[in-house]
Amino acid sequence: MNVVYFAWVRERIGLPQETVETGAATVKDLIAELSAREERYAAAFADISALRVALDQELSDFDAPLDGVREVAFFPPMTGG
């Protein structure tokens, strides 16, 4: 599974994307798995209310299942326009 990060999430984790081997059932499970891995992930995911997630380039939510998903993106609320 491809996991991509943007804005301060990318900076905090220290990389723009990575391939993750995971059996996580939901986005929340994936976050728990990554957070347990290293402090920088725990720091980035500390407050999920400050985060947004997209699954295969569509905005989704943290309870969404990861079954069949190829790309998960984590980022702060958008500030375009």
Binding site: A7, M78, G80, G81
Partner: protein, 146 residues
């Protein structure tokens, strides 16, 4: 409908003139141009990051929604990414319709949704350092108008 996501500058006036040109069935064109604002007088640069795989599609989905809700003859969205200077246009939206209410409402709607639902992030660079622009509660609240 035209959606463009690009690093290059664009000419808002030329885009406005090219938009819906030669159409005699429209009575109203509304444009919005977003400009890099230097709030404190110390902004060196605005960096705009985006999610390339998602951006164009997310904008097209928002534009489709506008076309479904209002009688629009045409829609234009241009959004830049990369480094921008104070005073430079960041993005523009244009809507064309037979009547002014539809053109105004659709442009307003597009801006509210682009602001909070298209994957762009702004970072301000000043002499004191760089910081990500926080999303405003007011921007999220604005979506409830529609």
């Amino acid at each position: 409908m035209t959606v463009r996501v690009q690093a290059e500058p664009f000419d808002a006036g030329a885009e406005l003139n090219a938009f819906a040109q030669g159409r005699t069935d429209i009575g109203a064109v509304v444009s919005f141009t977003g400009v890099v604002r230097d709030t404190q007088g110390d902004l060196q640069e605005m960096l705009i990051e985006h999610y390339p795989g998602m951006t164009t599609r997310a904008i097209a989905t928002i534009a489709d929604e506008a076309v479904a809700r209002w009688a629009l003859a045409d829609v234009l969205v241009i959004h830049r990414y990369g480094p921008l200077k104070p005073g430079e246009p960041i993005m523009m939206v244009a809507t064309a319709s037979a009547h002014r209410a539809a053109a105004f409402e659709a442009a307003d709607f597009l801006m509210d949704y682009l602001k909070s639902r298209a994957p762009f992030w702004k970072k301000e660079v000043t002499a004191q350092g760089a910081s990500w622009v926080d999303a405003k509660d007011a921007d999220e609240d604005a979506l409830r108008r529609w």
